[in-house]
Symmetry: C2
Subunit: 548 residues, 2 copies
C-alpha cells in the first residue's frame, strides 16, 4: 500500500458546516483521500506504481549520468538539476547522515538514478522551443532507477516526476515505490503570463515563480514586460524609454544583466521566455521617453496635450520599431515574440487631423481598423525580418490583418461560447492558436475556483481533427493591476497548477476528486520547497510555510 | 507644501484602459493625488498641519518621557514602543550617521518627542479593556514635539501617528511638518478575527499581524482559536483535547507559553486578546479528546458512529465546561470571552432518543432552539461565575436566550437590510452590539473591494441615539477555510485597514478619493515595515516588498 504519511492531510471533517458562511456559498466539504497516484502533478500519461517500495538515504543516493548518455559532466544544465532535486528530496534531513564514506548499501535501498539522454544531441546548451521533445521514461527498480529521455528537456521533467514519487514513510524514511512511467505533454505550449508593468516585479519574485513553473511542468514564461503604466525594460538602443517610462529609472527596471539572468534561469528549467511588447495600444509609458512615437490627441482643432496609440502615419515610427525589435530579437533568444495588438482605442486617432488626412489618402474611409491593420502589417514585416515568429492577441486576427501562415493567435476574449467560436474560426482559417480566456487568474472569486480552471479544455470547440491539432496549448494569465511582490505567488499557486495539468496530462484526466487529493499534496510540496502556495481548503501541511 | 516624495506613487495614467479586462469589469482608473493629510491612516479626529517643516536626524532625535509623565523608565511598554517607532522612522538609514557623540543641533531640527502620560495611573502594567482611554494629543513644534495622553494606550496610538507624519523630502532627509492633532476613537471595540482552526497559523504569522493591527489602531484580536476542524489550544486541564484534536499534537498547537507570548505581544501594542471557544456547535475537534462531550447521532434506532453538537443533557458536560472555562478565564486576562453559539445544527439532536426523552421531560415540544437556550444559559452562568463578560454570535439573541444585560451581541448574518434590522432589534432590546456582516474579508472579489468595506457604517440603521450608543464597534473577520501562513497577511492588509478607519475616524470621514490616496501611502508604509500588504491598484512603492 502506498504511504504518504508525511504529506497526508487531515482534511476536515464531517458535517458540511462552514462557520459563518453566507448560505448561498455553503458547499460540501471535500474529504481528502490518498490518490493511487500519490502526489503526482501533473499526472503523467502512463503510470504504473507497484506496491514494492525501496528506501533512499541521503548519504548513499546519487543522481548520475548513464554511461551511454549523450550528456555528461560538462552538461551543467543537468548537473545543476541533479543538485536541485537532491536538495528538494533530502532537504534539511541530509545532515543527520554521516559523510560520504558512510555510503550504505542495504539491499532494499535505491541508491542511484541514472539519467540517460538517448539522442546524440542532448540540446544541453540550447534553448527550449515550441518543437522541443519533452518526453521521458522513468523506471524505478532495483538496483537502480533509470530516466531515459531523448533530450535534456524531458530529463528535467523526469527529475521532477522522480522527486514527486519520493515520500516519507511513517518513520520519516525517504521511500519510493517501484514505478514505470512513460510521459509526454499533451500540448507543446504551456505558459504563464506575468505582468511587470502594472506593478514592477522584483527579479527574486520572477525567479521563484520560474522555479515553481518547473515544478508544474510549465514551459513558457510569457513576460508581459511593459504596458501603459510603466516601461521597466532597459533598452540598450533606447535607454530613455525606461529612464522616463519606468516607475523609477534605477530601482524599478530590468537591466540587460537582469534579463539575461531570467532567461538563463528559465533555460536551466526547460522554460522559454517569450517577451511581449504590445503595440500600437497599451503604450502610454513608451511615449514618455520617445518623442513623436504616440499620436497627439486633439480637442477640437488643437492638441489636447494627451496622447493615444502609436502614431501609424510617420516613417519615424517604423524606423524606431525596426531598431527596437532588432534589439529585442537579439536579447531574447526564443523563436517567438508576442506583439500584442489588442484593445486599440480609435478615439485619439479619430481626433487627429493628420490621421484623418492619411485615412483619406489611403482610402480607408471611416474604418480605423484598416489603419490598425496598416500598422500591424508593417510591424509584422519588421519582426519577420528578424527571423522571429510572432504571437498576437486575437483582435489582430479578428480585424482581418494579413498574417504569415505560422502566426500564433492568442485567444483571450469572451464567454465560453464566444471563445469556442473564436477557436473554431481561427483554426478554420488554418492558424495555430493558444487559449487564455478561461484562465485569467487575476480574476478571483471566493472558494475553490481552481476547479473551473481545471475543467476548461482548449480543444472543446466544434471543429475537425485537423483544427484541433492547430491548438498548441494555452496560458494562465495573471494581469498585474492587483498583484505585486506581496501577493503574486500565493495568488498564482496552486491555481495555475490546475491549468498546468490540463495542458500536460491526457484529455481524459478529469476526475476532480482525484485532482483535489493530488493537488492538496502537491501544494504542500510547493510549500515545503519554500513557495507560498495557498491552500485549497481547510487542511494542514506537515511543514507549514515559514514566511510571514 | 507637504512633500511625500518618498512615498509618492506614480499611480497610473490616462485612458481608463485595462488590458484584457472583461468589459463589465472595466472601471475608471483612480489617479493618485497627495492628500492634504499625507499618509495618515486612520485619519485622526482633529488635524492641523502647517506648512512649516523640521528635519529629524537619526543621530539626534530622541523619544523621551516628559518630566511630569506618570510613566518613567520602568514602563517597559513605552520604552519598547520608543525603540520600535525609532526603528520604523529611521530604519536602515540610521547607519549612515555617526555615533551618539555626533548629536547635531541644527536649529531647524526637531530633536525630541516628549511623551507625557497625564493620568496618575498610566496603566503601563495593565491590560487594555473596552473602557480604556485611548485618546492623545500631539503637538509637533520646535524645539520639541509633545505627545500627551491620559494612559499609555493613547500614547501608543500617538507614537504611531507621529511616525506617520514623518516623511522623506526630495533629498531623502526625514522631515515632519508642524502639526497639532487631537485624537480619540469613534468606537471602543475595533477588532480583527483570525481563525486558527481551519488552518493552523504559526505564531510568527499571528505576531506580525498583531504588529500590523497596531499600525492601524485596531485594538482587539478576536482569536477564533478552535473549531470543527482542529483544536490547537493546548489546555493544561484537558491536554487530550489538542493531543487528539489538533492537526498535529506537537507542530500544530499553541502551548501555554505561546498563548502567553501572543497576549503580552498584543498588550505591548494596546491590543486585547479575546479568545473564542465556540459551543455547542462547531465542536467536532473537541470530541476527539473528550469522550461523551458530543451528542451521538442515531441512524434509526442505532448510533451512527458520528457525533453532533455538545451533548446538552449530561451533567458531565457542564462539569467539563466549568473546569475548561475556569482555565480559560485565568489564561486569558481580557474581561471578555467569546462563546460563539452560532449555527447549531439540530439534526443530530433530533435523531438521538435520549435527547428526545429529555425534550419531553422539559416540555420543550419540538422546539430544539429551546434546548439550545437551555445549554447556553447554563454555559453563561458558568462563565459569569468566572467574572468574565461574554460575547455571543447573534443567533443566541435571535433564539431568545436569557442574557445578562451586559452581554455583547455580535452581528454577522444577512444582507444590508437584514443586518440593519438586526442591529436595530438588538439595540432596541438594550444590548450592546458589534458588527461584522459587511466585513467578512475572507470573501474575496475582483477589484477594489476595500471601498465596500469602507462605506459600511455600523450606525447606519434606524434607531434612536440611545440605540446608536449601544454599538461599541465592529470586527473584520478573516475565516480560515482558504487562508493560512502563505496568503493570510496580503489578503488581510490593506483591506482590513478600510475597516480600521471606519471604526476609528469621525463618521463624516467618507471621501473615497482622499481615502484612496492616503491608503495607497499607508500600504506602502506597511510594505516598508516588512508587511506584505497587497496593492490597491496599479502603482509602485519606492521600496517594494523584499520577500518571495
Amino acid at each position: 500500500m502506498l504511504k504518504f504519511v508525511s504529506l497526508l492531510l487531515a482534511l476536515s471533517c464531517c458535517q458540511g458546516l462552514q462557520h459563518n458562511n453566507i448560505d448561498d456559498y455553503v458547499e460540501a466539504e471535500p474529504v481528502f483521500q490518498a490518490s493511487k497516484y500519490g502526489s503526482l502533478w501533473p499526472l503523467p500519461q502512463k503510470v504504473q506504481i507497484s506496491e514494492v517500495s525501496f528506501k533512499l538515504t541521503s548519504a548513499s543516493f546519487r543522481i548520475v549520468d548513464a554511461k551511454a548518455s549523450s550528456a555528461g559532466p560538462s552538461c551543467s544544465l543537468l548537473q545543476s538539476a541533479y543538485r536541485r532535486y537532491y536538495e528538494y528530496m533530502f532537504g534539511s534531513a541530509k545532515k543527520q547522515w554521516g559523510s560520504k564514506n558512510n555510503r550504505r548499501s542495504d539491499p532494499s535501498d535505491l541508491t542511484e538514478l541514472q539519467v540517460w539522454i538517448t539522442s546524440p544531441d542532448s540540446e544541453c546548451d540550447g534553448y527550449p522551443s515550441v518543437t522541443s521533445d519533452e518526453s521521458y521514461e522513468l523506471t524505478v527498480n532495483q538496483p537502480v532507477a533509470v530516466l531515459k529521455a531523448p533530450k535534456v528537456w524531458g530529463a528535467l521533467h523526469g527529475l521532477e516526476t522522480f522527486s514527486q514519487l519520493v515520500f516519507e514513510d511513517e518513520y520519516g524514511a525517504k521511500s519510493i515505490n517501484a514505478t514505470i512511467i512513460n510521459d509526454f505533454p499533451r500540448f507543446q505550449h504551456r505558459g504563464i503570463l506575468l505582468d511587470s508593468s502594472r506593478h514592477f516585479l522584483p527579479i527574486k519574485v520572477i525567479l521563484s515563480n520560474l522555479e515553481t513553473m518547473a515544478m508544474n511542468k510549465i514551459n513558457v514564461f510569457h513576460w508581459h514586460i511593459v504596458d501603459e503604466q510603466s516601461f521597466p525594460y532597459l533598452s540598450r538602443t533606447f535607454p530613455q524609454l525606461s529612464e522616463q517610462g519606468a516607475y523609477h529609472p534605477y530601482t524599478h527596471v530590468y537591466t540587460p544583466a537582469d534579463v539575461k539572468m531570467v532567461i538563463e534561469f528559465a533555460r536551466l528549467r526547460g522554460i522559454r521566455v517569450v517577451p511581449e511588447f504590445d503595440t500600437p495600444g497599451h503604450t502610454q509609458s513608451w511615449g514618455k521617453g520617445q518623442k513623436d512615437l504616440l499620436t497627439p490627441c486633439y480637442s477640437g482643432s488643437k492638441p489636447s496635450g494627451s496622447f493615444g496609440p502609436v502614431n501609424p502615419i510617420l516613417n519615424t515610427t517604423y524606423d524606431f520599431m525596426a531598431k527596437f525589435f532588432t534589439e529585442i530579437s537579439t536579447v531574447f533568444p526564443d523563436g517567438y515574440i508576442h506583439l500584442g495588438g489588442d484593445e486599440v482605442d480609435f478615439t485619439c486617432w479619430k481626433s487627429n487631423p493628420d490621421i484623418q488626412k492619411f485615412m483619406e489618402q489611403q482610402h480607408f474611409g471611416e474604418d480605423y481598423s484598416k489603419l490598425e491593420s496598416f500598422y500591424i502589417q508593417k510591424l509584422l514585416d519588421i519582426v519577420a525580418s528578424t527571423k522571429k515568429g510572432y504571437l498576437v492577441w486575437q483582435e489582430v486576427f479578428d480585424n482581418g490583418v494579413k498574417l504569415k501562415a505560422d502566426t500564433l493567435i492568442h485567444v483571450w476574449k469572451g464567454n465560453q461560447e464566444q471563445y469556442h467560436n473564436e477557436m473554431a474560426s481561427v483554426t478554420a482559417s488554418g492558424y495555430q492558436t493558444l487559449l487564455s480566456t478561461p484562465w485569467y487568474l487575476n480574476r478571483i472569486s471566493y472558494g475553490q475556483d481552481w476547479q473551473g480552471f481545471y475543467k476548461a479544455d482548449p480543444q472543446d470547440f466544434k471543429g475537425t481533427d485537423e483544427q484541433k491539432k492547430l491548438v498548441i496549448g494555452g496560458e494562465a494569465c495573471l494581469w498585474g493591476e492587483y498583484v505585486d511582490a506581496t501577493n503574486l505567488t500565493p495568488r498564482l499557486w496552486p491555481r495555475a497548477s490546475a491549468v498546468a495539468e490540463r495542458l500536460w496530462s491526457a484529455k481524459n484526466v478529469t476526475d476532480i476528486d482525484d485532482a483535489f487529493n493530488r493537488l492538496s499534496l502537491h501544494r504542500c510540496r510547493m510549500v515545503e520547497r519554500g513557495i507560498p502556495a495557498e491552500p485549497l481548503f481547510s487542511s494542514y501541511c506537515p511543514r507549514e510555510y515559514k514566511g510571514v
